[in-house]
């Protein structure tokens, strides 16, 4: 092997330094000849004769040099370079063709790479941590690979008593932002995450600067220290190394910054980028237990640490060497059962009642161990189907681009038949000629691929930007994997469309081609058939894309016109928080919000205003357990709101009443429920006068019923069960404010913002936008798919039309003589047109006949993405087929018309 390497090494050297060795060898041979000649002279030959004899004895000098040169360098590479040069020259000679080819390849490959980049980031890539393959997530058996939540107690028990993990970490699964202030400065927001003390140790992540957490930091009550992410450190602190030791106030509690995580590390939740990490146990400090005046029960914002059944932690472990996922799972079962029994015995149920079957289910639920190499991701669930559909769409477009190129190359090949025939006649091997053609295709594909990477770089960012809630978070850019994908795709593409002209070149009959008059037009029947079948394929694929686009557009339309139960027009939405550093009491906060509502309502052009604890049409953070005596506890969207909330969003009251403006300030405990919750809990009985309770033993009197409305960000989900609580004790933290305007709500933004800060200059307002804009954001996924698929569908149809035009025009040109003859014999224009159109119609008909069943099969795969329309919707399919026919007929009509313009005399004299 070593020898082989030596030879290769010296050959590469020879390849690079080729010319110097040529001279050297020349001199050596010259030397040899002289010595040989001198020998002959010594034996008595005449000098002239001796030289001749020497040449004879040495053998052909040119051949010796040639074989020496070949042996010295890398002949294969040298031929390749020659071929490449030839290909580049050939492409330069037809700049129009080259430009079209590269453009369509750039778009095709670029679009594929862009989608792949995002798919790779969301679905495929492993976490950037040490040995991600050894990380395992603990979940319920039906949530393998997706993640379940556990309570703090379960986590610590599992951590201390398992025998299969070298370390078990936990993180809070909230995906929320803190209101915080740095060194006592202005209020700002940043996403955060609570993590166990061994979090960084288990993941094998070392600090970029400073230190990360130790188990000591996480020992209750928890060390108030914070680790920043690299991105946050750079953006907020301008990468200042002196950041260590500075203070962040979170919910009025000071936390000391101790370190920064390395670049590229984002945690174990793909698509989330917590800026700040603090130890788990500090939760007890941040959400301290508040004593209730009536019962000593826990408050809603309880320190979740000592609450047994509040599941808020994701658990990930690193397996001991040699332990498999199955072994770990089996070994954890007894421990899991023990922990669950203890929890039931300890019996703190968060004020929930649990019936017997619920308890049995809880006790019997096993624990599953699955790979956490790719981390957790919400994106994966919501984003993966649209992404795969988009990948399929751009894949089809690339296929169409390939067949268009194959068609163009075939047409070019016909024009180049003479050239090829001449080369064959001059002794070029067919293989060599075929290789030339293939190299040309590959050059085109690689140039397209290289430019495609640039397109993809931009495209992937645009795609991410268009996805809701992921905007700043997911890091995508071309890396080795993406570049590898692009290279592979480019080569595959080049091979795919390059095979047709290669086939053509191999078929060339030298004599015929050289004899053929004009050379260009004498295509063979088999080539025409090939080109026609490519057209049929294009038409079929275009029908498929157009049908898909139609379905997505209709889905978007039906989602847009969906009745949310809210009046979205003229409503402004914003989040308002008072400085977390200020020692404002809850009473002061209430006063602040009351004053703010009053001031906003007195602004000109404002109809009404209200606060709401949760953001409407966002992912629901407030699914609280609601208990009605005699019923099982239900997790329901629960929202404390002020009195004018229903008026502001125009949610009609069906029965009973809501609370009054005065009640907003009083410690009144009243609830309004939605119609569907009332129906679910009480059947036909009126719920008014009944009581419901949440979290603690605190109970609320149900005073009214309102119409159902949507509150979840997934508009397709049927989620109309809801409870609205009077706001009496919910002034803590940030609140959402909704304002109904009499006119354009956008014009109120500046005034409202002024009011927020005029009462309290430290107050923080964020996310001001109209509710319509919020809904628009929700539909960005659907809009993206609808727009992209329409665009791609039209592009595909256009490419197919161009291809069709090309083939028909060529066919007309080929038949000029025949047409001229027919006209001379008295055929009318209509007849001639029909002659050509018949060919067009056959192609379109075959394409549509193939495309419709293909669309029927393919659209079924996208069923989950559709809403308000069936995948086999006949109207959409018919529309797609008709649109394709119209575009294609137009493309076919032009050459048909030209055919009638043939002058019989000219045609017959042609050649």
């Amino acid at each position: 092997m070593l020898i082989w390497l030596r030879v290769l090494g010296s050959r590469i050297r020879g390849f690079v330094l080729g010319h110097r060795a040529d001279d050297d060898f020349d001199r050596e041979l010259q030397c040899h000849l002289e010595m040989l000649a001198a020998e002959h002279v010594r034996r008595g030959m005449a000098p002239e004769e001796a030289r001749r004899a020497a040449y004879l004895q040495l053998g052909g000098v040119a051949q010796i040099k040639e074989s020496h040169r070949e042996l010295r360098g890398l002949p294969a590479v040298e031929t390749l370079v020659t071929d490449l040069r030839y290909a580049l020259r050939a492409l330069r000679k037809s700049p129009g063709f080259t430009a079209v080819a590269i453009l369509s390849l750039t778009l095709g490959i670029g679009a594929n790479t862009a989608i792949f980049t995002v798919i790779d980031a969301v679905l495929l890539k492993s976490l950037p941590v040490k040995e991600p393959g050894r990380l395992a997530m603990l979940t319920d058996p039906d949530k393998r690979g997706r993640g379940s939540l556990y309570c703090y107690r379960a986590y610590t028990e599992l951590r201390e008593r398992n025998a299969v993990f070298s370390g078990l970490l936990a993180r809070s699964d909230w995906d929320e932002e803190f209101y915080l202030s740095i060194d006592g400065g202005r209020v700002e927001r940043a996403p955060y995450e609570l993590v166990s003390g061994n979090y960084f140790a288990v993941l094998g992540v070392n600090p970029y600067i400073g230190r990360t957490f130790s188990l000591e930091d996480d020992r209750p009550p928890g060390n108030p220290v914070a680790v920043l992410s690299y991105g946050y450190w750079r953006e907020r602190f301008a990468a200042d190394r002196a950041v260590i030791g500075r203070t962040i106030h979170i919910r009025s509690h000071p936390f000391t910054i101790i370190g920064v995580t390395p670049p590229g590390f984002f945690g174990i939740q793909v698509g989330a980028a917590p800026a700040i990490r603090i130890p788990l146990t500090t939760a007890a400090t941040l959400w301290p237990p508040k004593k209730d005046d009536r019962a000593n029960g826990n408050y809603l914002d309880d320190p979740r640490l000592n609450m047994l059944h509040t599941n808020w932690l994701q658990i990930v472990g690193r397996l001991h060497p040699g332990v498999s996922f199955q072994q770990a799972e089996a070994s954890l079962q007894p421990l899991n059962q023990q922990i669950r029994r203890q929890e039931v015995e300890l019996g703190n149920w968060e004020g929930m009642s649990m019936n017997r079957s619920g308890r049995r289910q809880f006790l019997e639920r096993p624990i599953a161990v699955s790979s956490a190499a790719r981390g957790f991701s919400r994106l994966r669930q919501s984003f993966s189907e649209p992404l795969l559909v988009l990948l399929a769409l751009v894949g089809v477009v690339l296929l169409i681009a390939c067949s268009t190129l194959a068609n163009l190359l075939l047409a070019r090949g016909v024009a180049r038949r003479r050239e090829i025939a001449v080369r064959l006649a001059l002794g070029a091997g067919r293989v060599r000629v075929a290789r030339h053609m293939l190299i040309e295709s590959l050059v085109l594909a690689c140039v397209g691929g290289a430019l495609g990477v640039l397109v993809a770089w931009w495209g992937a960012s645009a795609l991410i930007a268009a996805a809701p809630g992921v905007t700043p978070i997911l890091h995508v850019g071309p890396d080795v994997r993406v570049l590898g994908f692009t290279l592979g795709l480019s080569l595959l593409t080049g091979l795919l469309f390059g095979l047709a002209p290669v086939y053509q070149a191999l078929q060339t009959q030298v004599m015929e081609a050289l004899k053929a008059p004009g050379g260009a037009l004498a295509g063979q029947a088999s080539q025409i058939a090939l080109r026609k079948s490519l057209i049929v394929l294009q038409v079929a694929l275009s029908v498929l894309l157009l049908a898909g686009a139609g379905l997505f557009v209709r889905t978007l339309r039906s989602l847009k016109s969906l009745d949310t139960g809210l009046d979205l027009t003229r409503v402004l939405q914003m989040s308002v928080a008072i400085h977390p550093y200020s020692p404002a009491t809850e009473n002061q906060k209430r006063q602040y919000y009351q004053q703010l509502l009053d001031r906003i309502e007195s602004l000109p052009g404002v109809h009404s205003a209200a606060t709401s604890k949760s953001i409407l049409l966002d992912h629901d953070k407030y699914n609280w357990p609601i208990t009605v005596p005699g019923h099982e506890t239900l997790r329901v969207s629960t929202n404390p709101v002020t009195s004018r909330f229903f008026e502001t969003l125009k949610i009609p009251l069906v029965a009973g009443r809501t609370w009054s403006r005065q009640d907003d300030c009083r410690p009144v405990r009243e609830a309004v429920v939605s119609e569907s919750l009332a129906r679910h809990m009480f059947g036909d009985v009126s719920p008014i006068g009944h009581r419901l309770s949440t979290f603690t033993d605190r109970s609320y009197a149900i005073v009214g019923v309102v119409k159902d409305s949507k509150h979840h960000n997934n508009l397709r989900q049927d989620d109309s069960r809801a409870v609205y609580l009077s706001p009496a004790e919910f002034w803590d933290g940030g609140l959402e404010i909704y304002v109904r305007a009499a006119g354009d709500p956008g014009k109120l933004i500046a005034a409202v913002r002024r009011e927020v800060q005029s009462i309290n200059p430290e107050a923080h307002v964020s996310g001001i936008k109209t509710l319509e804009a919020q809904v628009d954001e929700l539909l960005s996924n659907e809009r993206l798919v609808a727009r992209l698929s329409s665009l791609l569908g039209l592009l595909a149809a256009l490419l197919a039309a161009i291809g069709l035009y090309g083939v028909i025009a060529y066919s007309v040109a080929r038949r000029t003589r025949e047409i001229g003859l027919r006209m001379a014999l008295g055929a009318g224009r209509a007849h001639i047109q029909w002659l050509v159109l018949r060919e067009v119609l056959t192609l379109i008909g075959a394409g549509v006949a193939l495309g419709v069943p293909a669309a029927l099969a393919a659209t079924r795969l996208a069923r989950n993405l559709l809403f308000g329309v069936e995948p086999n919707d006949p109207a959409t399919l018919t529309g797609a087929a008709l649109l394709m026919c119209a575009i294609a007929l137009l493309a076919g009509y032009l050459p048909a018309r030209r055919a009638t313009g043939v002058d019989p005399m000219v045609a017959l004299r042609h050649e």
């Binding site: 020898i3 010296s10 030397c31 004895q57």
Partner: protein, 112 residues
């Protein structure tokens, strides 16, 4: 094939070149070719140019090294010399040659 003369197999030529360099020390291409012809009593009629392909092959394997120097009658010539790994290779090849020719000889009934 003309009677009394043999075509030289590629590998055999390489082996002979190595042997020549072992016997005579550093030598130029012409000298090596002459020596091989003489050694074989002019039975092996070399196309002398082919010696250079062999020399290049051996050089690429680093079994011989090359350097310009002055010949006996003060001409500039390229001299080839056996390297240490070339010497080792020659020994190994010589042994395997003897073994194989012995076997072939026995099979052909030439061994006396």
């Amino acid at each position: 094939m003309p009677e009394g003369k043999s075509e030289v197999l590629q590998g055999t030529l390489d082996l002979m070149v190595l042997k020549t360099l072992e016997c005579l020390g550093p030598l130029h291409g012409y000298g090596i070719a002459r020596r091989i012809e003489q050694q074989s009593d002019d039975v092996l009629q070399l196309n002398q140019g082919t010696i250079y392909a062999s020399l290049l092959r051996l050089q690429q394997k680093r079994w011989i090294s090359a350097a310009w120097g002055a010949s006996e009658n003060n001409r500039k010539a390229k001299f080839y010399a056996l390297t240490r790994s070339g010497r080792k290779q020659l020994q190994a090849e010589t042994e395997s040659w003897e073994r194989i020719s012995g076997v072939i000889g026995r099979v052909l009934g030439l061994a006396r």
